[in-house]
Symmetry: C2
């Protein structure tokens, strides 16, 4: 058991939502940007709450400006605070753009990132001739008309197990860039189209590039068949634009 | 026909939405606050667009911080621009928190305020143990549990033709403070309760005070019967708190 510093500690799981608008993303890098990252902000409050130095394990990063409705993280502590007390304390001392939805004790072996089976991301595209003023910080506005049939075609070509390197901003890597996208749904609303992606893992910028590619297919600027070429060549240049972060939401993380 | 300066001019109707968060309300008072009021902002762009000095007639005021999904206004002009061109120009040069949804030519006699038959306002109350981070600028958060049955009782007592002076911030006035509230609906959502008011006219702060009174009834801090006493005494002190502006939306203005 030597070396397992977390033995006998409680393992606490958090379910969170946040407006990523004013943050440099989820991940704290060292101590420098703890105040400008979501991880850093929550760790600060957790550390004050417990009197310990808390390290939060997120299910994965979200980029600067990206939002979450259901981010998951866990941390180990000796604290004997009740979960509802923790939730109350966190929501009281965290800024208004971070909300802790649920706090629970989980088995010691639970790990937010390693145990995540799949995730759902939603990219919200505002449509129509006037973007909604109320959603302006949570959508990306597309002035051009989008053809749902073409987008559906493109989405169907993306679903499945593929090497998504061309649909990512990943540079040279030894790690596998093969992922499985199990489902892509397109939800047409009154002044908005939601692109819903589910998969077992997403590479850096992958959802924003897939969404950008689908938008270019929808406007007619690109053939849906080009999706195949991105998979074949693994060349980022062959895929569509990277849509801006403010339309992207990490919606849910799934565990066994 | 002498004195009718608008004779032969076009009469243009606008349907608008706006996020009132950073404005001093709808109404421009003189020239001083034209840049900080919604009326002033739109008039500035309309005047540049037409080369005329445009005065915009709104269906009514909204207070500082109050939002609108369906505010209506009209103005007279000699411009021969097409309506779609006006809409495009306005949305291009107005700030992102004001959106022009519809522009149309209407008969010369149409007057946004005088012809309005009724209006619908919605007050959005965030509920549950954590307010949604994404709606934080568009709701007022009520931590306490609200009893829907009691609120419904209170709402039913408010509906009808009454002197609403006690439910307003109106000071001494010679004008009638009798209004008809035709309907109050309570829409219970997942983490939100919407209070929906329809009536032929609303006094200064009336919706926010009615909403505050209903919330106090819902928490049990006040008996629903007190509504009758406010009508009887016409005393503002007998009614509930004025809820803050950020939860209030002018939803729709109805014409014949």
């Amino acid at each position: 058991m030597q070396g397992n510093k977390n033995i006998m500690k409680r393992n606490i799981k958090l379910l969170m939502e946040y407006d990523g608008g004013r943050y440099d993303g989820w991940q704290r890098l060292g101590k420098k940007n703890s105040g400008t990252t979501i991880q850093g902000k929550i760790e600060e409050v957790l550390s004050k709450m417990t009197g310990e130095t808390i390290e939060l394990i997120g299910s994965g990063r979200t980029d600067a400006g990206v939002h979450a409705r259901g981010q998951v993280a866990n941390f180990h502590t000796d604290s004997d605070m009740k979960c509802w007390e923790m939730k109350y304390y966190l929501n009281r001392y965290l800024p208004q753009d971070i909300g802790i939805l649920y706090v629970s004790d989980v088995p010691e072996r639970f790990h937010s990132r390693l145990n995540a089976k799949s995730k759902r991301y939603i990219y919200r595209v505002a449509t129509g001739d006037v973007p909604s003023v109320f959603d302006r910080h949570y959508t990306w506005y597309c002035f051009d008309r989008l053809d749902m049939g073409l987008m559906k075609e493109g989405a169907d070509l993306m679903v499945g197990q593929h090497d998504f390197k061309g649909f990512s901003s990943v540079k040279k890597t030894n790690k596998s860039t093969v992922r499985t996208v199990s489902q892509i749904d397109i939800d047409v609303k009154e002044r908005e189209i939601d692109l819903i992606f589910e998969g077992n893992g997403f590479l850096y910028n992958m959802v924003r590039i897939m969404a950008g590619t689908l938008v270019e297919i929808g406007t007619g600027d690109r053939e849906s068949e080009t999706v195949k070429e991105v998979f074949r060549t693994k060349n980022r240049e062959k895929a569509g634009m990277t849509l801006p972060p403010q339309g992207l939401f990490l919606d849910e993380v799934f565990y066994e």
